[in-house]
């Protein structure tokens, strides 16, 4: 079965510093990977996805993610963190259901705290 793991419950980073939120995956076949962000009292907002192609994927709000097949990782990065980036970040992998449709399998989430 497809799965993702987010090894860190919380990541603290100073404003202006680069940030990394880690995600590793376990899939059979080609991985389809996603990052979502959840701000307080808001839904899951799509940030970016990896389907195929370039290993560096650019997404919303200046975020990017690096797909590394040998390390089975899909870490989320941003060169310069903002206080407003503080939120809960979820990594997800697409899993095909028996019906042929897809469902997403989410990680446990990583809380990012950017300190002023």
């Amino acid at each position: 079965a497809q799965s993702v793991a987010q090894p860190e419950d919380q990541v603290n980073v100073a404003e202006g510093n680069p940030l990394t939120v880690k995600c590793t995956y376990s899939v059979s076949g080609n991985p389809y990977l996603f990052w979502y962000v959840q701000y307080p009292n808001r839904g899951l907002q799509f940030l970016l996805k990896y389907i195929t192609g370039d290993n560096l994927v650019k997404g919303s709000y200046g975020f990017e993610a690096e797909f590394n097949k040998s390390q089975t990782s899909f870490h989320l990065k941003k060169p310069s963190a903002l206080v407003s980036d503080s939120a809960l970040y979820f990594c997800a992998v697409r899993d095909m259901a028996t019906s042929g449709t897809y469902k997403y399998i989410f990680g446990t989430g990583t809380r990012l705290k950017v300190l002023a």
Partner: protein, 113 residues
């Protein structure tokens, strides 16, 4: 930018009562989903829906749950007789195609007392 909307944002109900959670997916999307997130836990898939029928459901989605698309815009999740353990944030999502990115709504926080 079009987005998925959900109502209500919060719902408090008594155990055993029926609740209906409502969602308006993105207007040209054809595939619809419900997920839930129990407090402090990961987001879990409940059900997917296409062409007016359930495509896939998880083991969580038992006979107490049902989904419906009563008209051309709404997509509802009904819990027939709520239990304490149904307390969670429920997210609706939609996608344009079977392989398209799923876009999520803001969620409905359900509290069963």
């Amino acid at each position: 930018e079009p987005e998925v909307t959900q109502t209500p944002s919060h719902q408090v109900t008594q155990m055993g009562q029926e609740v209906i959670l409502r969602c308006v997916p993105i207007s040209n999307h054809l595939y619809f989903y419900w997920y839930r997130q129990i407090l402090g836990q990961k987001v879990e898939f409940l059900v997917s829906f296409y062409n007016n029928e359930i495509s896939e459901k998880s083991e969580i989605f038992d006979d107490q749950f049902s989904v419906e698309r009563p008209d051309g815009s709404n997509f509802t999740l009904k819990i027939r007789s709520t239990k304490l353990e149904d307390s969670a944030m429920y997210f609706c999502a939609s996608s344009l195609s079977w392989e398209g990115t799923q876009y999520f709504g803001p969620g409905t926080r359900l509290l069963v007392l």
